[in-house]
Subunit: 305 residues, 2 copies
């Protein structure tokens, strides 16, 4: 019998670093969090130290030996999953930074949305599924795709940037990806102020006004949900997942998101032979990156080899 695996998962986020200790069943054994303070020190030395300290802390406090360490971060991971190879503008100092050397043991590094997908496949709503898409609806729209149980990586490991599809070729180019009228711009938090001509500062505010029956808010929110539906339909026709999971802060809208979304899917989804894709909220929310990073480190060979 092989020994029980115990993994540390770290999620390097824009505002917080989250760390988790889990076993191979996904039971949470310990959790830690600390502010990222991105930009405080040159080359991110401060958050690099915080992550090292966090891993050292888990290692000391754990009763069992740590078998794996995973790190989730924004940006594109390299082919060998040892570093983030591309992440301009944020967490300066992460590009090509060798985490295994810094920590003094092997660290598997993965994009944070890919980690969220793996968290759901390992311990959440995608358990037992083979073809799954996850969209993270937050400041922007990120994503990840499992195809026959394997992580879609593709050329330069860019696969799964599901928010960066054009839904309006005459639209404006706002995000990182050079795409006019992207899905990310249609529903992401970063454009809600702009979309509402300054009336709403967050999706929470917009959805709150929608709940109260505000006409403008209703139009605006339903139009965003309609575009999300069309994004899912487009991606379904191209990639064809059996399950679409939605995660990220915008899903806290709950039925105010999922009910109109289902109605728009009824209008637009192409359903050969009557088959329709299942759409569900993700199980994990703010700890998903850390859980996924730990799961990825434990099960890497299943996902990418």
């Amino acid at each position: 019998m092989s020994e029980q695996q115990i993994a540390i998962g770290i999620d390097l986020g824009a505002t917080h670093i989250k760390g988790i200790l889990i076993n191979e069943q996904g039971d949470i054994l310990a959790q830690k969090t600390t502010p990222t303070e991105d930009g405080k020190e040159a080359d991110g030395l401060n958050w690099k130290r915080s992550i090292r300290d966090m891993i050292e802390g888990f290692t000391k406090e754990s009763k069992a030996e740590i078998s794996h360490v995973g790190l989730a971060a924004p940006g594109i991971a390299n082919e060998s999953f040892t570093a983030i190879s591309w992440m301009p503008g944020r967490v300066i100092g992460i590009e090509s930074f060798d985490w295994s050397a810094w920590i003094g043991r092997k660290v598997d590094v993965i994009n944070d949305a890919h980690a969220a997908l793996i968290a759901e496949h390992s311990f959440g709503e995608a358990k037992g599924k083979q073809d799954v898409m996850l969209l993270t609806l937050g400041t922007g729209v990120g994503g990840g795709v499992l195809i026959r149980g394997e992580l879609l990586r593709g050329f330069i490991q860019r696969g799964g940037h599901l928010g960066h599809i054009s839904l309006d070729t005459e639209g404006e180019i706002l995000g990182i990806s050079n795409i006019p009228g992207s899905l990310e711009d249609a529903i992401g938090n970063s454009t809600v102020e702009r979309r509402s001509f300054g009336r709403f500062r967050s999706t929470d505010q917009l959805v709150e006004a929608y709940r109260k029956g505000d006409h403008f808010a209703s139009y605006l929110w339903l139009n965003s949900v309609r575009k999300l539906a069309l994004g899912i339909c487009s991606l379904s026709n191209a990639i064809s997942s059996e399950l679409v999971l939605l995660g990220g802060g915008i899903t806290h809208a709950g039925p105010d998101l999922f009910q109109p979304l289902a109605a728009f899917m009824d209008v637009f989804e192409w359903r050969p032979g009557g088959a329709n894709v299942e759409i569900k909220p993700a199980k994990f929310s703010s700890w998903t990156g850390a859980i996924g990073a730990a799961a990825f480190a434990m099960r890497k060979s299943a996902y990418v080899e």
Copy 2:
């Protein structure tokens, strides 16, 4: 040493049935073609007979023993690749038709655009590549995707319907897929008369007028190519292929397609670290379905198992 493989590939098209005999190097040993005459007899008995006769003819005439038979057809193949499970409106009688029973030997059945992709990967422009997208630009826009050398099938085997992404959510719904403003409608032959308000009946005519400097034709064609570029960019961000092949009759426009396409890709493509996707014309044209069907039958385990 294993014996040389010899495969028959049949392409059941809208107007013609094409048959080919190839070896495992892709050398063409024999070719046959006959009209489909879709709808002439109930349940397509006429084209079913034509295909049986064609296979019998190849078998009799071949010096070596036939090792494999493949059939490419429009529609969605079933999970075991023994039949087309879904194809409404055309080639009535094909849905769930058991080709192996009809022919009296094992026949591997595959979607025609998937076959075209496999033809390119086996013997054409995608040889040696792992992550490849093929778009067939014809009456409609079809496609196929290879991911790490395997055919993307997905839920209900729908994967690769690359023409059925929305590029204009306010657009009209014209095609089979219920998608407003689809890529298929933006460039496919079936909408050119509509897009040109009756001025051009085919993409050939449209491109001819563009070559002569006709202002309206220039706008119309360049707008279609712009939308194709944005479709490729969108799909690249989601799927991230290393190579995009374009096939189908519209690619006969040659540099009048590929030069403006490259210019639009320069404007819109997201190129992390400077990396850009390669776009090339497919090697095979009208025989691609037959070649791909034969290649699929010979190499099925590499593509789908």
